[in-house]
């Protein structure tokens, strides 16, 4: 019972946080609410028996990406004003698209659940949730080595690219202007 309640709480945290993050006007609040939502997801990973993933989520996502985003909000000239919302027509378009997407996703979920049930052949027993950091490590350096390697390259390229983009506009005339 406690498990169910805490599971529901995590799910609610994830969904409500996301909804608020999408809709509040203040950008700073939105970023923080995104963090709430990410925490909720991390909780869900725990219920899935994947504590390692939960840790990665918290460390990389919340500790890295979210802090980056919060840092970026400082660039924005107007994080609380009325200018945060898109034109009315676009807002409706967003709502429509989101609802359509939700509908489509729900359909996929239903299909996925049915497929899972069919694959287990009606077997009622849910496999035990076992932490498997070892297995992941094997996998990353074994069968998934190529993707793992590519992810590393991607991260490096991203890092270099980010620096390059920021650097590119440091032209002499701009510097002269700044001086």
């Amino acid at each position: 019972m406690i498990a169910l309640v805490s599971f529901a709480a995590s799910a609610a945290l994830a969904v409500v946080g996301a909804l608020l993050a999408a809709s509040v006007r203040n950008l700073l609040h939105a970023a923080l609410l995104l963090g709430v939502s990410l925490f909720g997801t991390a909780g869900l990973y725990l219920f899935l028996g994947q504590p390692w993933l939960a840790c990665v989520q918290v460390v990389v996502y919340i500790g890295g990406i979210l802090v980056l985003i919060l840092f970026a909000t400082l660039f924005s000239s107007d994080i609380t004003g009325s200018g945060q919302r898109a034109p009315r027509a676009l807002w409706f378009a967003a709502l429509g698209t989101a609802l359509t997407t939700a509908l489509a996703a729900w359909r996929l979920v239903r299909g996925g659940v049915e497929a899972l049930a069919a694959r287990r052949g009606g077997e009622p027993v849910v496999p035990p949730a076992v932490g498997s950091t070892d297995a992941i490590g094997d996998l990353l350096l074994g069968a998934w080595f190529a993707p793992f390697f590519l992810a590393g390259v991607l991260l490096t390229v991203a890092l270099v690219a980010a620096v390059a983009i920021v650097q590119r506009h440091r032209r002499p005339e701009v510097e002269a202007e700044h001086a």
Binding site: L90, A93, T97, T101, R107
Partner: protein, 678 residues
């Protein structure tokens, strides 16, 4: 010279004179040229008339094809028959007389140089109506007659309406009845005349169209509108003709009624009669010819010429309407105080009488009788108007019957001429009108006895009209010329026209007698068994009418007050009705001028472009532009709808990341929804 050549000259002379006079600046020279041309025309026309009437044959003049349309042609050409020959001669003669008279009448008028050419155009057009050998040319000239009347009525184009005329208001003085108060300005009167004539002409065109349709459907080709061909139409085999389920015979009735509709407009019959009294805003000399031989005569002439085409049903309509107009207009003439208005309504009434005669049909002798009355009436009415012109000229523009009187001492010759004309028109024995009016009454009586004819209605109405004719004509003469002078300041300067003018007027006097018309039996007047009855009735009516007029006039001074006014008080409702034209004018104004004219036009204009506010705001961008319920507004609405769609489309390509994202994700989601059902 053959009659055919003469007929062309009769047309060409006035036309050439019109062109020539239009180029002349001097009024005297223009009058001289015009009068000379008309005199030559008269000298040509009279022998021609004698010749044609003597032989009784129809002379066909030169004919040319105006337009060849394959299935039929439209021609121009002349044709002279006895009626046309006499009428052409009368037109030419009266035109000459009136021109000479006008040279005196307008001797101090600055615009006088305009009169001759307009007048000659008018006369030329009328000659065209009389001498045309086909209905098409007749119609063209008919319209030009309308143009001539338009020009002449609006001769004093810059005069205001009487109510706004300071000169008239100053002249009116005390004791006046304000007879001109409700009269229109000349420029309004000319418009009214033209447009009302056009109402009739629309019917005329329908008549021509129906005749053409019937002719072509029965296989005719060539100049199908020539009178010779048309006359043969009723006896032809009409079984092939049908339109909208109407048989050929019904179409002929329709055609005849259409032609009659044109005549109703041109001859000022009920209900298109409002324009003629207003037409006297033109010079009196113009009225004298307009009321006599041209214009109004054209309508009677048209029906007389096309009488073979008129089936009995159409004739009944002609007879009833004519007789009704006769009485109707006579009743109005009795209560007029404007000396020209009495004559104008008298013309309407007399024309009604002619139509009553025409309605009796050729078999009853109605055609000849009506034409005879047309001739006699032309002379008498022309003379009357010229006398009226002399009176008005002598009295410096005063034309109120209540202020004139006793003028016979100052203008004895004019008074005598006018009396002759009055007696002629009233139908006194030994005078011209006696002959022709009797003939009409006889014809109407004869037609009444024919089973299936119009019945006794037209005859009785015509009799009542004749009675009133005697009343108002005698009243008119007595009030102007007899007794003592009512207001010396009005009449003291009056005098007869100069001798030269009188010498010309004298020419008209013999024609008011019966003798020239009955001598030699050249005028084919009907002499049926009804003639005696009709004569008796006419004489009784004349006596009765004269008695009424005399009694009213004689008693008036002795009673110390105006018996006419007393009578008017007693018969107030009747008097009011007559004076207000029985409401016809008002109804016409309400229904057509205000209703179908101005009212509907305003509605249509509003529905078309919208109101002035919308029009003023068209160019202002961004100004609120409510879509008015108008055609143009709908167009603008469509345009704005297109612009809105375009604006929505432009939103998709506005460079907004969100929009692209929405499109991409939305499309993906939709694809899943639609495509992943399996």
């Amino acid at each position: 010279m053959s009659a055919g050549t003469t007929s062309v000259l009769l047309l060409a002379l006035p036309a050439a004179a019109a062109v020539l006079c239009a180029c002349l600046r001097s009024a005297r020279a223009a009058h001289a040229v015009a009068a000379a041309a008309m005199l030559v025309a008269t000298l040509l026309a009279v022998p021609m008339a004698v010749e044609v009437v003597g032989s009784g044959a129809v002379v066909v003049g030169p004919h040319a094809t105006w337009l060849d349309l394959g299935r039929f042609t439209l021609g121009v050409g002349t044709m002279v028959d006895p009626t046309g020959a006499v009428l052409a001669a009368i037109v030419a003669l009266l035109a000459t007389v009136v021109l000479v008279f006008n040279a005196w009448y307008m001797h101090d008028e600055p615009l006088a140089a305009r009169f001759p050419w307009q007048f000659c155009l008018f006369a030329a057009a009328m000659q065209g109506v009389v001498l045309a050998d086909n209905l098409f040319l007749l119609f063209c000239c008919w319209e030009l007659v309308g143009l001539g009347s338009y020009l002449l009525i609006g001769f004093w184009f810059d005069r205001p309406a009487a109510a706004d005329d300071a000169g008239y208001q100053a002249r009116k003085g005390s004791g006046a009845r304000g007879v001109l108060e409700h009269r229109l300005s000349p420029s309004h009167a000319q418009w009214k005349a033209f447009v009302m004539n056009r109402v009739g002409d629309a019917g005329f065109l329908v008549g021509i169209g129906a005749l053409l349709a019937v002719s072509l459907q029965t296989g005719a080709e060539g100049d199908v509108l020539s009178f010779a061909r048309l006359a043969a139409l009723p006896t032809a085999d009409l079984s092939a003709a049908s339109l909208f389920g109407l048989s050929g015979e019904s179409l002929l009735v329709l055609a005849a009624l259409g032609l009659f509709c044109g005549a109703v407009g041109k001859s000022a019959q009920f209900p298109l009669l409002g324009w003629l009294p207003d037409a006297m805003q033109g010079p009196t000399t113009a009225s004298s010819i307009l009321h006599a031989a041209t214009m109004v005569a054209a309508g009677v002439f048209l029906v007389a010429r096309c009488l073979p085409l008129f089936p009995p049903d159409a004739l009944a309509v002609v007879g009833w309407l004519g007789a009704f107009t006769c009485l109707f207009a006579a009743s109005i003439a009795c209560v007029q105080w404007d000396l020209k208005a009495v004559l104008a309504w008298s013309t309407v009434s007399q024309l009604g009488l002619m139509f009553a005669g025409l309605g009796a049909g050729a078999a009853a002798g109605g055609g000849e009788a009506a034409v005879a009355h047309l001739f006699t009436h032309a002379f008498a009415k022309c003379l009357l108007f010229l006398c009226a012109g002399a009176v008005i000229h002598g009295c410096h523009g005063h034309q109120d019957l209540a202020r004139l009187g006793g003028l016979w001492r100052r203008m004895p010759v004019t008074a005598a001429f006018a009396l002759a004309a009055v007696l002629a028109l009233g139908g006194a024995p030994w005078f011209a009108g006696f002959v022709s009016k009797d003939a009409i009454l006889a014809a109407a009586l004869a037609a009444a006895k024919v089973p299936g004819g119009p019945g006794f209605g037209p005859f009785l109405l015509a009799c009542a009209g004749s009675l009133l004719t005697a009343v108002y004509l005698l009243r008119w003469w007595l009030r102007i010329f007899a007794g003592r002078e009512r207001q010396l300041e009005v009449t003291q300067a009056a005098h007869d026209p100069p001798r030269a003018v009188l010498a010309v007027l004298v020419l008209l006097v013999p024609a008011t007698m019966a003798a020239p018309w009955t001598f030699g039996d050249w005028l084919p007047l009907p002499h049926g068994p009804e003639h005696a009855t009709a004569t008796t009735v006419a004489l009784v009516l004349l006596a009765l009418g004269s008695a009424i007029a005399l009694v009213v006039w004689l008693l008036a001074p002795r009673a110390g007050r105006d018996l006419a006014a007393q009578l008017a008080r007693v018969l107030r409702p009747l008097h009011t009705a007559c004076a207000e034209l029985w409401g016809v004018e008002r109804a016409f104004d309400l229904l057509f001028t205000r209703g179908l004219g101005r009212g509907l036009a305003a509605v249509v204009a509003r529905l078309d472009l919208g109101g002035e506010r919308r029009l003023a705001a068209l160019e202002l961008d961004g100004a609120p532009r409510p879509l008015p319920a108008s055609l143009d507004g709908v167009v603008d609405g469509l345009a704005r709808g297109c612009a809105d769609v375009g604006r929505a489309g432009a939103l998709l390509h506005g460079g907004r990341v969100g929009v692209y994202l929405a499109i991409a994700l939305g499309a993906l989601a939709l694809a899943v929804l639609v495509g992943w059902s399996a």
